[in-house]
Structure formats: C-alpha cells, structure tokens
Symmetry: C2
Subunit: 182 residues, 2 copies
Amino acid sequence: MRVLGIDPGSSVTGYGVVDCEGSSLRHVAHGTVRPRRTGSVAERLAEIHRALDEVVASHAPDAAVIEQVFVRPSNPKSALVLGQARGVALAALGARGLNVAEVTPQEVKSAVVGIGNASKEQVQQMVCRLLSLANAPAQDAADALAAAICRAHQGRLADLPKRGASRRPSPRTGSWVVRRAR
Amino acid sequence: MRVLGIDPGSSVTGYGVVDCEGSSLRHVAHGTVRPRRTGSVAERLAEIHRALDEVVASHAPDAAVIEQVFVRPSNPKSALVLGQARGVALAALGARGLNVAEVTPQEVKSAVVGIGNASKEQVQQMVCRLLSLANAPAQDAADALAAAICRAHQGRLADLPKRGASRRPSPRTGSWVVRRAR
C-alpha cells in the first residue's frame, strides 16, 4: 500500500509518500509546496491545488491521510485561513478518487515516536530513522511523512485480530481466520 | 465588464454572473452547486472545484468577487468548514487567472438594497428587480448575484472623479481627465 500524507498550510504545505508492505516501510518521496508570496490568495491556493495534483499523478498513492485540526476559539480567523488551504488539498485528493483518512496529532506522535505528546523535533528525528533518510526533511514534509507512517501503521493494525480473538488456520480450508475467544 | 460572484458553502455554493456596461446591468447566469451528500468531504470539495471551473470556462468572466467572512470566536469549527469550501472556490478562480475581489456583507447590501443591514429576503427581491428576473433565484445564487452587482457598482464608482475633484476635458488632448479641486 502506498500512502500519501499531507500537512496543509497557506504558506507551506508538506507532502510525503511511503510504501508499506507488512511491517516494512519504504520512503518514496517528500517535499513542500510554497506558493509565491507575491501572488493573490486565489493564485496561491490554485498553486497548492496544482502542485498536489501533480504529486498524486506522479506517485499514484492508494490512500491519503491528513491531520485533523483542533481549532482554538481564540483564533477563528486563522481557522478560516487554514481551512482554505486544507480544502484545496482535500479537493485535489478527492478529484483523483483518493480515500482520505484523518488522524489526530496524538495518533501520529504515538505511531511515530511512541508517545502522544512528543515534540516536533522528536517526530522529525524518528521519521528520519524509520525511513532511513540521510537528511532530515523540512518540518512540514516530516509531519506529512509522519501522518503517512501513522496511516500505514493503522492499516496493518486493521489486519490484526481484535482483542480477545485468536488467529489460527481454519481446519476446513487451511487459510487463516480470525476467531473470537469465548 | 462581466463579473462572477460566488457565495461559497460546503453544502451549497451559489454563483451568479452579470454583465455591466456603464450603469446598465444584464443577467447572464446563476445557479447553485450542491455536492452529493453521500460523498466524502474530499469528494464533495472536488465537486465544488470542478463545477466552478466549468462555470468560469463557460461564461469567461473578466473579474470575480467573493464575500468577506467574519468568523465568530464562538464557532471556530464552522470557520474551518467554511474555509475549506471558500479555499476551493478561490483556487478554482485563481487557476483561471481571475482577479478576485472581496466585499463585505454591508457593502453588498448597501449596493443592492441601499441599506447595510437589509434582510436576506430584501436582497433577494432587489436582485430580482435589478436584473429583471421572472423568478427569484435560490438564496445562495441571489447572494452571489448581489455580490457581483456590488462589484460592478464599485467598478463604476472607481471611474468617477474622487470627492473634491472635477472632470473636464484636457485643453491639450481633448480627452477627459480628472482634476483635483484646489
């Protein structure tokens, strides 16, 4: 499964692509979209849309993931501005028929570092280690890669038997089936 | 000048196109984009983007206008959701190289009804009358048309001499020039 993670923002939008096969992860690509500061808001948003559309076309991910946003009542205007960049990213993914999952920042940190309140730097370092990167990616690209790793991890967890269930081969078919403990 | 007005929303996005020549207004088109309720957020936003792109391609406006949003601190989550639809609309306009102006709700109401605190119904009725429409457009389309009328009106005002300035032909070239009063 190839997963595309997006960390949207009006100034910088990060993206990261990882391949996941069983428990192994492979880095495919990452980068940032930085619209020209001289452009109008509409032009800058169009630039984000165009760039993400190209990323999806180039890397053909199977799934996409974006971080959930918790907006503070103290700053509703920044919620609107962030919403604009986020909407554009979602539209670019939706236009290519991608299923977009949402993950909380805590889920991302837990999946990558192991603790839900890890710092940005810890996430950046662990992304580097997990994907065997020679150099640390830019913060927004690292966050996007972390979201992709989290989603890949969730995908693997979904394949595991649920709590209280055991996995063993079916005596009839010989294939692995999930059985609930009594 | 052909102006496209947009009233963005995640459930319903209204649009309206008017032609403006001197002080005369002509209705060109209006409508609403209502993404399927069954689609994911990404699919719905992609649908808004696609529909508005088609509107711009069909009617080739010279300018676009969108209402400014005043977000209340009590509801930052709805600011994020509205921001997403707004961002998609702006990106669709920006991608076609359109200059997008922002107008306040008060400016729109003053331009269409004559008072800044007019009701939605008054705006709807006056849009109908100003554009000689047989039937009232849906609320969101009426708001989009009202924004377009406001922008067209502002465009005309911009051509007028500023307060304290008089307009008279240049004695040298014979063309009209704006002169400041002493």
